[in-house]
Subunit: 220 residues, 2 copies
């Protein structure tokens, strides 16, 4: 659209983004294949509700994270399984709570007008670190969930390299590969988008506002 | 202790294990000797801090990791358990292989005199990223191992919050907390140690050398 003004894309970034998207799609398809082929498919009000949990977690760590958490608690209640006893549940809940905290702090610092420019600047690196840590913790929770599900369902045949075990392990490796590629893209200084003119102007406005002046030069 | 039930060891294995331990000890001593005799020794709050890196890496990731890998294969053979079928084993082996690669590339780029100054500079951020990723992957492998061990041993009582399960989950949370704190410290720009004068001089020497001049101003 505004192609004329677009800055040159850093070399290599496009390829890495493409690989990350391909890995993301591959891991979604693998998750679907595993759940559909070996775990009986998906269902909300049935014994298949537990299967919604991994799909939602993998599909959307942000939007569908809430659905995934509800699914596991409802499924456990229906089956009489206790909650929150496993390391997978502890890590998953830590991820969820940390994400909520990140969301609340993010809203507080970046959305509400009260935070000063310098406070936003000091908080931003912590927000970025927690975001990446949350991403890593989400992947770790998925890997723990995979291991848990395999050992609850195919513990006796897992060591014979049965297809379900190999498929689920492959999903785990895809998750790790996806995490590595996305983590690499996220942490390259040279691939960070420089702030746009309007963002700089907005920052200056925030700065001016918090220093007691109006952004428009005193006319308002 | 359970010597009577122990299966016969394959011929030569003991000797190879002994040799591997001797080599491991020798490589630790050699690393220590090199750092102590030629690189000025070890120190935390001094210019010698960089020397702590190879020593800890060799001690933890080569010597102890090597023993950790050997221990699991020997134990599996003694009990007739197949190897490398679980997600934990796949992640653990990926960590091991990635670390070996990191070690070889690190030696190639930083130790051998062939690499140019600019090549070292371009490789260094990749080395740092892979190092942090390896750390995260190591912790993830530990968490998977914890979950696996719990589900193989206390699957039926795990959900009743038995002490072993709670203790092992706590260990998992401690591992995550340790990873978060170390990861945070590692990735703060403002906590990065600025290069020392002698390191800058050394870099310049490397640069000069690779550009075909002698470091001492042409006298050698």
């Amino acid at each position: 659209m505004d192609g004329a003004a677009a800055p040159a894309r850093p070399a290599g970034l496009c390829a890495f983004v493409a690989v990350s998207q391909a890995l993301g799609l591959a891991l979604l398809l693998t998750t679907g294949a595993w759940l559909g082929r070996y775990r009986g498919g998906l269902g909300w009000q049935s014994a298949l509700q537990l299967n919604v949990h991994p799909l939602c977690m993998v599909l959307g760590l942000v939007f569908l994270q809430g659905d995934g958490i509800i699914a596991v608690f409802e499924s456990h209640r229906a089956k009489g399984i206790p909650n929150m006893y496993s390391l997978h549940s502890w890590c998953g809940m830590a991820t969820f709570v940390l994400y909520l905290l990140q969301w609340l702090l993010g809203c507080g610092f970046f959305l509400l007008p009260g935070a000063s420019f310098s406070l936003r600047g000091r908080y931003k690196p912590q927000h970025i670190f927690i975001g990446i840590a949350l991403f890593a913790l989400s992947i770790t929770s998925c890997l723990l969930g995979i291991t848990e599900m395999l050992l609850f369902n195919i513990r006796d045949s897992y060591s014979r390299f049965v297809p379900e075990g190999v498929l689920a392990n492959t999903l785990g490796v895809l998750l790790v590969a996806f995490g590595l590629v996305v983590g690499y893209v996220l942490t390259r200084d040279e691939w960070k988008r420089p702030p746009l003119a309007e963002e700089l102007a907005l920052s200056m406005d925030f700065k001016t506002l918090t220093e007691g002046e109006s952004p428009g030069g005193g006319s308002q």
